[in-house]
């Protein structure tokens, strides 16, 4: 917001749990430094942690990730797999 209260900019940055510095703290320690840990966290969070906490999974199954995934990972299948195993 500029000082004349009429102009300003809307500033947004990307953030997401798959990005390398998502779990990094100011001291320099990164609690999920590897892709494997971040991928595991993403699927467990949406498929297990949120389910345990709120009784609903964090994925509505719309299929957009599946359609765009270059390496043909189907998150819906992953969540179902997570659900069946734990």
């Amino acid at each position: 917001m500029e000082i004349n209260l009429k102009e300003g900019v809307r500033f947004r940055t990307w953030d997401g749990c798959m990005l390398v510095d998502f779990a990094k703290v100011a001291g320099g320690e990164n609690f999920r430094p590897t892709t494997v840990q971040r991928l595991r966290h993403r699927f467990l969070r949406k498929g297990k942690y949120l389910l345990d906490r709120y009784g609903k999974v964090g994925c509505v199954g719309c299929g957009r990730c599946t359609r765009h995934c270059l390496v043909k990972i189907n998150p819906v299948e992953v969540y179902n797999g997570v659900y069946n195993r734990i």
């Binding site: 749990c17 998502f22 779990a23 990094k24 703290v25 100011a26 001291g27 320690e29 609690f31 999920r32 840990q37 966290h41 467990l44 969070r45 297990k48 942690y49 345990d52 906490r53």
Partner: protein
């Protein structure tokens, strides 16, 4: 409507330089109300136009409406905080999280181990113990720093010694240092505690926990009497963003102080 992200204004009353990197800020909310925090809780501090970051409260709620924060200049926001002067305003959200086990520890002996900046959150509890000394048993404080010049709250060490045993150590001494040299775990063999009566609490850099816990087990302290303060990047403070998550736990809600038995099965905790 409850606006979780709306900060309250707080005025900086005093700024004190503790070391080359850390400053101690004394603040009071603009409306004059006390923060009503528990020892070990944290607040989200916003510097207007810069950003927001989680900072531990390092003074006890028993000390009136003013509260203190020990801030190390290490990132964008904390460097901006260091530029602030008495009379400047910051935004405060919180307090958030679950603090130290003040109730569970009543009548028990306490073993407190702090490494480096871990002294900041622990000081809120130590001050609380000073003010409620008769509620607690024997108190032992272990404090490790990298170098003598990095020791925080140097002028309060004598006060800490007045409520119990207080052992200091530094990783590297210098020509003026007379005390113990070595990492904090090297203090543990000289400490005598009654493991069945003792509640052990540790706060420190992430690398410290594994080693200090091993020492606690060697002393015979049961797992359910050990508490760890696991600080993460609590970005939102209200359990939404997930930055601070340790597996399924939100540090900003269930923590930052956890009982060891709550987190020992979690691979991301220690």
């Amino acid at each position: 409507m409850d606006l979780a992200y709306k900060p309250k204004l707080a005025k900086i009353l005093e700024v004190k330089e503790l070391t080359a990197r850390e400053k101690l800020f004394t603040l009071r909310l603009e409306n004059g109300e006390p923060l009503n925090h528990q020892p070990g809780q944290f607040v989200e501090v916003s510097v207007f136009g810069v950003g927001e970051c989680p900072i531990s409260i390092c003074s006890s709620p028993t000390r009136g409406p003013e509260f203190q924060m020990c801030v190390r200049a290490i990132g964008n926001v904390t460097n901006a905080i260091h530029q602030l002067k008495p009379g400047d305003y910051v935004g405060i959200r919180g307090p958030y999280g679950r603090g130290f086990p003040v109730e569970e520890a009543k009548g028990q002996d306490l073993l407190l181990a702090a490494g480096g900046l871990g002294m900041a959150p622990l000081r809120s509890f130590i001050q609380y113990l000073m003010d409620r000394r008769s509620d607690y048993g024997e108190i032992t404080i272990l404090y490790g720093s990298r170098e003598p010049k990095e020791i925080l709250f140097k002028d309060e060490i004598d006060l800490m010694k007045s409520i119990g045993q207080c052992y200091l150590t530094v990783d590297r001494g210098d020509e003026t240092w007379q005390g113990h040299v070595g990492v904090i775990t090297t203090l543990c063999p000289i400490v005598k505690v009654n493991p069945q009566r003792t509640i052990a609490i540790t706060v420190g850099p992430p690398v410290m926990y594994k080693f200090i816990l091993k020492e606690f087990f060697n002393m015979g302290i049961p797992e359910d009497r050990i508490y760890v303060d696991l600080e993460r990047h609590m970005k939102c403070g209200v359990g939404k963003c997930g930055h601070c998550q340790i597996n399924g736990l939100y540090v900003c809600k269930e923590g930052p102080v956890f009982k060891y038995t709550e987190i020992k099965e979690l691979p991301e905790a220690i």
